[in-house]
Amino acid sequence: MPFGLIKYGLSSRYPVIRKFPARPELKPRYDVVIIGAGGHGLATAYYLAKHHNITNVAVVDKGYVGGGNTARNTAIIRSNYLTPDGVKFYDASLRLFKDLSHELDFNIMYSERGHLTLAHTDAALRTSRWRAEVNKHLGIDSEVVSPEEIARIEPTLNLSPNVRYPILGALHHRPGAIARHDAVAWGYAMGAAERGVEIHPDTEVTDILVEGGAATGVETTRGTVRCGCVVQAVAGSSSLVAGMAGFKLPIRSMPLQACVSQPLKPFLDTIVVSGSLHVYISQSSRGELVMGGATDPYQLYSTRSTLDFTEGLMGHVLELFPFLGNVRVMRQWAGIADMTPDFAPIMGESPVRNYYLDAGWGTWGFKATPACGTYMADMVATGRTPDMIAPFALERFQRFDQFGERGAASVGH
């Protein structure tokens, strides 16, 4: 190694720049404790500090920053949902995402690719039309396209009618995008820390303190912390943490697996999704194909990988892109998806006062990060539920007033 390089590395004139400060000591009391230092929790902390000047905030996590589902999703951003409330919310999020690199002064590598949801059956085509009309009504760029148009949009896709599930059409959503998911968590963490928010990784919450029906603090592996209110943003452990606060959620936790291929030259511009084939696939800026499918068929808290998943997924991928036959899978992983019965999240108040829920993000949480942070922060700061997230309240289940978002989940589950 050249001597000059060692000198540079050890010189105090070029200190290492930390993305966010080292873990501070826990204070005995905060205004707000946010459980979960993933994208959602950190975005909530960031907007609490930025929009509401609330900075006496601690974000605690049993692991490291952005190490949960923020790091495990396939980083797709889109707003072509089915219910008007869902479309409006995800569109608000997509708009925030577009400007997020600038907002955070950190490159999240937002890349607008266009998003094709393939239809292989009449039923899927009908849902595509339905989604396109709801989207257009709300000003979202979505339209149903024919196989000829698909061939122009994504020429590498196998449009042969001589396959098991020929492609009959697709829902084309031009604003569909991907971003670097880790950078989203880091960017929010840096922005929040700069404004005085404390981030406490390796600090596991072991109990929620509830007095007279209101949350007053949390027990952690590093001591007891009192607070004005608690925000729970723990995708994959929502039921377990809510259980500490003393209530149940309409959630079943299932593993969702994904994998990446070895890097290839850029050939796939669009994000391609097939609900019937249980596949979604996009090419990252590193050239890797990022691929995912449906959730595992039964409840589990284990993030093990299975051969069943890869085998099943590749069978379908090869039908869409037969020339990938010799390409290798490089990594495979899983995240725990908190599935709600109506494929929509749960945001808002809980049965415990001063205890706010951000849960039930199943397989659709990453794209919601900026909007969820914004509105959760509004709610914590004002004590009122913003109109935008009111339909996502937990008590919708008591009224039998569920969402009907299943048709817009990326793949059939």
Binding site: S239, P297, Q299, S302, F397, Q398, F400
Partner: protein
């Protein structure tokens, strides 16, 4: 490939089975409150640990009960429903057929 021991068919590939959720007591739908019914329909224990669930072998339409660990992905035990529902559950239907 994960193998599940079916009480009727012996060891079979787990892809032949469908998990149908926790074994829970159903409240009487004609007598219970709306809240209790919503709780029964939607709310989940979602336990991290040993759970007791209904499973279904698709090819033979056979329902049974499995106990498994949701943290380690191990199947602890599988057995016929008659082991805990004895006599069989009365669903309160008056169709006259087998419930």
């Amino acid at each position: 490939m994960k193998i599940m021991l079916c009480p009727l068919n012996g060891p079979r590939n787990i892809s032949e089975f469908v998990c149908r959720g926790d074994v829970v007591d159903r409240p009487d739908p004609t007598a219970c409150s709306d809240e209790a019914w919503a709780d029964y329909v939607f709310m989940q224990d979602n336990v991290a640990g040993i759970v007791r669930e209904w499973w279904y072998h698709v090819a033979t339409a056979y329902w049974f009960i499995a106990e498994r660990n949701t943290v380690t992905d191990e199947i602890v035990r599988t057995y016929p429903a008659s082991e805990i529902f004895h006599p069989p559950v009365d669903h309160g239907t008056d169709s006259g057929g087998r419930s």
